[in-house]
Subunit: 126 residues, 2 copies
Amino acid sequence: MTAAAAALDALGDPTRRRVLEVLSGGERPAGAVVDALREHGPISQPAVSQHLRVLLDAGLVTVRAEGTRRVYALGAEGLVAVREWLVRLTDPLAPFAQPLDALATEVARGRRARRPEGPGGQARRA
Amino acid sequence: MTAAAAALDALGDPTRRRVLEVLSGGERPAGAVVDALREHGPISQPAVSQHLRVLLDAGLVTVRAEGTRRVYALGAEGLVAVREWLVRLTDPLAPFAQPLDALATEVARGRRARRPEGPGGQARRA
DNA sequence: TTGTTCCATAAGCACTCACTTATGGAGAGG
DNA sequence: CCTCTCCATAAGTGAGTGCTTATGGAACAA
């Protein structure tokens, strides 16, 4: 939910997406990410560091200290949140996963389509 | 690719995400989208129209003219592009989908090459 | 015709945010 | 100790963009 929001906000930036694509090749220290990004165009080390911070806060990457290096890797938490948000959008049944029987009943019963009515017509809707 | 980039850029805005969530309940004319968004806070009709345009360009929604109304619905094109981008990130084999035979060969050869024995052998490399 | 509804576009503005340079802390080694 | 490498943070700046109000076109009704 709000995790998906943070992740999708982070994915809104093309440079951050490229960082993730770099990390999809395996974990790398921050410096290696900088080098990889520089093959697509000039960018400063602090810029990459700031992007990594945003991705970290969004759960899209993880960090591990190794000596003087900070090794980054793809983070399942954020990626799963995005995937679930997408599924929820597409799959109309997902929000009703709990009362599954009630939903099935409604679907079976339901083909007599009713259009929303006019004045005062707030129909019974489960 | 660039379709995923456009879609992810569009998904970077919270208001646009809410538009998609509204449309996940079924297709709606633009005015109904405005009404739905207003339940979360004040917003102008042009603002929603501009967001719908961005979503349309990104393939995340489709439009259909119906009389004087413009009926919007979720667009598969953009959503699929995002899903595939996510899969490509996570699945390390995806980039090698083309030379599938070569990959299979490599896998088979790897198994043949190392025939570790007994209980003690733990070395497992990917 | 006139009037009304629905919606997109134009123009302008404020604010976010991605970038830069400068700086300093933490670890490894001489 | 000192030095070098690696990296994060601070501070400031410019461009992008999401918002607003104003406007007009298109379809339908009277």
